[in-house]
Amino acid sequence: MTLAERVLDGDIRAAARLMRDIDDRFKSAIEELKTLYPHTGNAYIIGITGPPGAGKSTLVDQIVSAYRKKDLLVGVVAIDPTSPFSGGAILGDRIRMNRHADDAGVFIRSLATRGALGGLSRSTTDVVNVMDAMGMDVIVIETVGVGQDEVDIVSTAHTTVVVMVPGLGDDIQAIKAGILEIGDVFVVNKADRDGADRTARELTTMLEMKHPDPAGWAPRVLQTEGARGVGIEALVEEFDAHHIYLKESGALQRLIEERNAKLFADTLREELFETVFGAIKGNGKYDEILAGMRDKSIDPYSAVQEVMAGRAFP
């Protein structure tokens, strides 16, 4: 049996290995993903973003419990940064989710960014697709959350959740532009701390200015205590409401189409680059260009145009 067939057969080790092949960019993974593709599109995908230490992993753990109570199968993809110095990584999100390790209805996978900048790894969409094909009803993605422009999550998840903590105070004005645009649900976690109400109020005011359209989805601000599991039911209800809104408004279909288009474009971009770069490296053209730039007989812009125009690749 191929890995993909074994995945569809419920083989956990095969799924885990395929995710690794995807992450390590094995060509064979493409063939397996082809087989799985018709079995994807059934999972509801939630993305969780927010600064480090805000309590994302703790909330993911609680969200997993809430969906398990409803007897749904849950996948988790948790992303942490790769060290730019060694290429290694410490992936620590599982620490908060260990109680689900034994539950056969939960599959948790940690991924390193491996140089990707948008808050996810390059492999995230494909790993999510494997979980989708495994039959996961809900898939929760935890982004890196290091304050980069975490925009990739919006095109990967159906519902994007922005997690913040109290005490932002006057600094709330300084919240990165863009964060208000990406959230479908806002969470002020650590509501046990002083200033939670105020942070939630200020955030609500800012969101009301951003979303004046009464017919569209109006993101709300919820308060939670991830550590004690307070406010989780209301949070999951909000996810359900957003999911229903997406389906009924046709926005879900639009999201799916954007996601497909992005996956196609990303794959094409990589294939094109690998093909062209591989060819010019193989036929000596690349060395020629490097030499040319060294003695300034050619500039990088003309070199690229030449490669493209001259069909210096098969």
């Binding site: 885990a16 060694s86 992936l91 390790a101 599959f107």
Partner: protein, 134 residues
């Protein structure tokens, strides 16, 4: 192009709160270019093996300073066998008497490192003995 990166689970089984050693090992592994899944304290052998399978690690590296190594480590190896994951290498370190090491090796624990071992030695052992899954 395709190149395997070594993935290691570092964790602490049982009721043992000494986590300095585990953290030092996790950092040394990261600095060696490995991807480390750090699962933290108080893991049951079942949780460790399930996590190792889901994360598709090549190596499970456990730190034990509580004295419970003779029961916990063989238990992890047994569960690996039950779950069809006996190919994942199991190594350990911590306060473990020299006299116990032969018995642990007989139970399938590949190597044991005790206090005072340099992280270079430990990283070197991993490089020499772990070939990532094909």
């Amino acid at each position: 192009m395709a190149e395997r990166r070594i993935r290691v689970l570092v964790g602490k089984p049982g009721l043992d709160g000494h986590d300095r050693g585990a953290k030092i090992i996790a950092r040394a592994f990261r600095d060696a270019g490995f991807e480390v899944i750090y699962t933290g304290l108080h893991q049951t052998p079942e949780q460790i093996v399930s996590a190792a399978i889901q994360e598709d690690v090549d190596l499970v590296a456990l730190s034990i300073l509580s004295g419970a190594h003779n029961t916990l480590l063989p238990a992890v190896k047994e569960i690996m066998k039950e779950k069809g994951a006996a190919d994942i290498v199991l190594m350990a370190g911590g306060v473990i008497p020299e006299d116990d090491i032969p018995g642990l090796k007989a139970a399938g624990i590949a190597e044991v490192f005790t206090p005072g071992t340099s992280t270079e030695t430990i990283v070197g052992w991993v490089r020499d003995n772990i070939t990532p899954h094909a």
